[in-house]
Amino acid sequence: VSAETRAVFADFGATGVAETTDPWLRAQLAAMRDRVIDPGGDLPRSIADHVDRRVHDARRRARRLLGVAGAGGAAALVVTGAVVRTRRAGA
């Protein structure tokens, strides 16, 4: 740990955040907006898989419940929200 780091901590330890550092705290919180956390790994791929799987399942449910055959009709059901309705109907 650098001497500089020790000094920063010692400063805060001595003065206390609770009473003296509100502007500092607000500024630090605002700065957090620019800090983007990368989840790493395969999240974009798993998002695509998740969307594919859920949409596929929803289409199948919609076809089964409403008797609509064919991918085009089922896709229309998905985008018009029929999937939500079929789920509420317990499909």
Binding site: V1, T5, L29, M32, V36, I37, P39, I47
Partner: protein, 186 residues
């Protein structure tokens, strides 16, 4: 609230271009995940929320009229999903986000700034969920009290009061974390 997204890409995705939608995901998922993580304080919940956000976005794209920008729209979906996950999380609790020792102190040229920032992230994560939400949405993402109240189903005044309590608890907790860190490195 997130970084602006290319409207051409949004239009293409609205038109059913799956590659454009995938590109939208790649352009925005880190921001969505970060907001979800800050609201849920749990990495697994945040990953689940991120997936759910894009499923809702995919379903809702056809109805997206462009009254708000795409990034603002996506931000709202993320908040909604994360708050729903928080409610579910009360029933199915996982291990909360914890400050990892190796994250606490770094020794590079901007190490002290990073170390303090990590302590602050940890202190925010440790707030009770209802207090954490107002700090994240107001102090980090700069949403007005009215919008926060609408998201949380409370009045703007109630959001202000909650924020005041949250900041007080945050300062006290940060004080404790810093004192502990001073002892650790000192």
């Amino acid at each position: 609230v997130f970084n602006p997204v290319d409207p051409v890409l949004v239009a293409a995705a609205r038109g059913g271009d799956r590659r454009a939608f995938d590109e939208l995901v790649r352009a925005t998922y880190r921001h969505v995940y970060t907001l979800a993580l800050r609201l849920t304080a749990n990495t697994e919940d945040a990953r689940d929320v991120t997936q759910e956000v894009y499923l809702r976005a995919y379903r809702g794209l056809a109805g997206f009229r462009g009254d708000a920008t795409f990034d603002t729209w996506l931000h709202r979906i993320t908040v909604n999903c994360a708050l729903s996950a928080r409610t579910r999380g009360a029933r199915h609790r996982h291990e909360p986000l914890e400050l990892q020792p190796e994250q606490a102190v770094e020794v590079d040229s901007v190490g002290e700034r990073h170390a303090l920032r990590d302590l602050l992230e940890a202190a925010v994560a440790e707030l009770p969920p209802r207090l954490r939400a107002v700090v994240v949405l107001h102090d980090i993402y700069d949403l007005p009290h009215e919008a926060i109240g609408a998201e949380l189903g409370i009045s703007a005044n109630a959001a202000k009061i909650r924020l005041h309590r949250a900041r007080r608890r945050l300062r006290v907790r940060l004080d404790e974390l810093l004192a502990s860190e001073v002892r650790r490195v000192g």
